[in-house]
């Protein structure tokens, strides 16, 4: 662009300002002239509205992945979060300008009425964009994939017919981020066996834990200090009963490694997890158990030194004190729907009134960032007070 064109443009800008009766002394310079490029269009570019955490990922050079099968709605994943994607439409026109000064601090006052120009290109326009919203990953699908092939011990592997999955095979089936998938695999005590992620059959767990706990009692070991190598040797001394990697997995699932002197790898059993294991074992094959009888059997079955407290049943079993006699039944959170509304529906179907303490473990697993259990209760439940105790029940009308 030669000088005479610029001068002519400046003249035009000044003329337009005069016609518009704008006081040039109140304006900043340079003035920017916006023009559409020759190939400006609304197809080349897609606008994606970002959650603040996703902006950070991009600014740090991280990539995002959109995942979906033909019949799924698409989701967007970072390393550790999952978002739903929806197309939003606006009745406004959004013009895209790559270079534009928008901060008055980058402009200067007009001196002696002098106008200077900057020519800016608009490369396109849009009237729609993609919106994202944080969602809970499809963990129920992940669970059902793993349930196709429970591990029952090495002797049953040959007849194992169900499909087994590596982590990348799972990532190809689940609309979720890798961190969320790994976190869930750990949470459900899934075990990586020869590269495939497996759930242990509960009956098999009972057998193996039985061997371990019996050995602990025989050897008079403290539950706080179980020596790993010695345990493997002694359990398997007359033929392999519990493979070493299984014992290690179980000690990690129901306990944790502790520091020990003498370089001996030791584990401490976790009272909460062991008591819950026993409760599940007792409740698994019955539909309902007499509460009083259950509590007696349960308390006497846990290893010595451990106390089976009712609070360990939260999120695992439901106590019904409205029936006579009181009963208890198994009710595990991982079998429940992950959609918030459906979750509440299934909870209120099974039990009419819940205290906060009772319902909290059945809601908090599906709260995503920014959601609290209290907020979800306010939204999806109705509260009432009886004898000084606050209860939550369904908002839906009761149909007779």
């Amino acid at each position: 662009m030669c000088d005479t064109d610029i001068l002519s443009d400046i003249k035009d800008v000044r003329a337009r300002l005069e016609l518009a009766k704008l006081d040039i002394r109140d304006l900043k310079q340079p003035t920017q002239v916006l023009t559409f490029d020759e190939d400006a269009n609304d197809q080349d570019v897609t606008l994606l509205e970002l959650d603040k955490s996703v902006l950070q990922v991009i600014q740090n050079g991280g990539s995002l992945v959109i995942r979906g099968n033909e019949d799924d709605t698409a989701v967007l994943c970072t390393d550790d979060s999952t978002f739903s994607l929806k197309r939003a439409v606006t009745s406004n026109s959004l013009i895209l300008v790559p270079d534009c000064t928008t901060n008055k601090d980058d402009l200067h006052d007009t001196i002696d009425d002098e106008i200077s120009l900057l020519y800016r290109s608009a490369v396109g326009w849009k009237s729609d964009y993609l919106e994202m919203q944080r969602i809970h990953p499809q963990t129920s699908r992940l669970l059902s994939l793993l349930q196709q092939s429970y591990y029952k011990g090495p002797q049953f592997e040959e007849e194992q017919a169900g499909k087994c999955f590596t982590l990348s095979e799972l990532m190809n089936e689940i609309q979720a981020s890798e961190v969320e998938v790994m976190t869930f695999l750990c949470k459900i005590n899934s075990c990586c066996i020869e590269g495939k992620w497996r759930l242990l059959d509960f009956g098999y767990i009972v057998e193996c834990m039985g061997e371990l706990l019996q050995l602990i009692e025989c050897e008079s070991w403290s539950c706080g200090r179980v020596p790993f190598v010695e345990a493997v040797e002694k359990i398997n001394d007359s033929g392999e009963l519990v493979p070493s990697f299984i014992l290690k997995h179980l000690l990690g699932s129901y306990g944790f490694q502790v520091d020990s002197d003498e370089d001996v790898v030791c584990y401490q059993l976790d009272e909460t997890k062991i008591c819950r294991f026993f409760a599940e074992m007792l409740l698994r094959d019955v539909s309902k158990f007499n509460l009083k009888e259950f509590l007696e059997v349960w308390k006497s079955s846990v290893p010595s030194g451990m106390v089976a407290d009712e609070k360990y049943l939260l999120g695992l079993a439901l106590i019904d004190k409205t029936s006579n006699p009181h009963t208890v039944k198994l009710f595990k959170v991982d079998q429940l729907p992950i959609d918030m509304q459906q979750r509440f529906n299934s909870l209120f179907t099974v039990k009419e009134k819940w205290t906060y303490e009772q319902i909290e473990p059945y809601i908090e697993d599906i709260c995503v960032k920014g959601q609290t259990v209290s907020a979800m209760l306010t939204k999806h439940a109705r509260s009432s007070t009886m004898d000084g105790v606050k209860y939550f029940s369904t908002r839906k009308p009761i149909t007779t």
Binding site: V13, R16, L17, L19, A20, L22, D26, L27, K28, T31, Q32, V33, L34, T35, F36, D37, E38, D39, A40, V45, T46, L47, L48, E49, L50, D51, K52, V54, L55, I58, Q59, S63, L64, V65, I66, R67, G68, E70, S91, N92, S93, L94, I95, L96, V97, P98, D99, C100, T102, N103, K104, L107, D109, R120, A122, W125, Y129, N172, E173, Q175
Partner: protein, 111 residues
């Protein structure tokens, strides 16, 4: 499962969005390409003012509560791997939501 990667380019730019209420109509009826939009001024308070055709539009600079990412299809990506490039982010917009004021041109009366 379809997996589409969105990859930020090495030098992530920052673009600006200019937002008009309703549709921007081309005066000549020949679409937008290559056509001038208008003059963008800023007053001493830092508010944008545009002169588009025979109208003045008064606007505001707004920091976006939710910034945008600008996605462009990556033509160089392999056949079976769909990839988009994140070319830029948009943190601010100029929004002209007030009704445009027509510029009345006074034809001077003959003396």
């Amino acid at each position: 499962m379809v997996q589409i990667v969105l990859r930020p380019t090495n030098s992530l730019k920052e673009w600006t969005l200019v937002e008009y209420q309703g549709e921007l109509n081309s005066r000549l009826g020949n679409g937008f390409c290559g056509n001038k939009i208008g003059d963008l001024h800023f007053n001493s308070k830092g508010d944008p003012i545009m002169i588009i055709g025979h109208h003045i539009l008064y606007g505001k600079v707004k920091k976006l509560e939710k910034p945008f990412a600008v996605l462009v299809k990556n033509k160089d990506s392999e056949m079976d791997q769909r990839e988009y490039l994140i070319k830029a982010v948009i943190m601010n917009k100029l929004i002209f939501s007030l009704r445009p004021k027509p510029i009345i041109i006074h034809v001077p009366k003959k003396v």
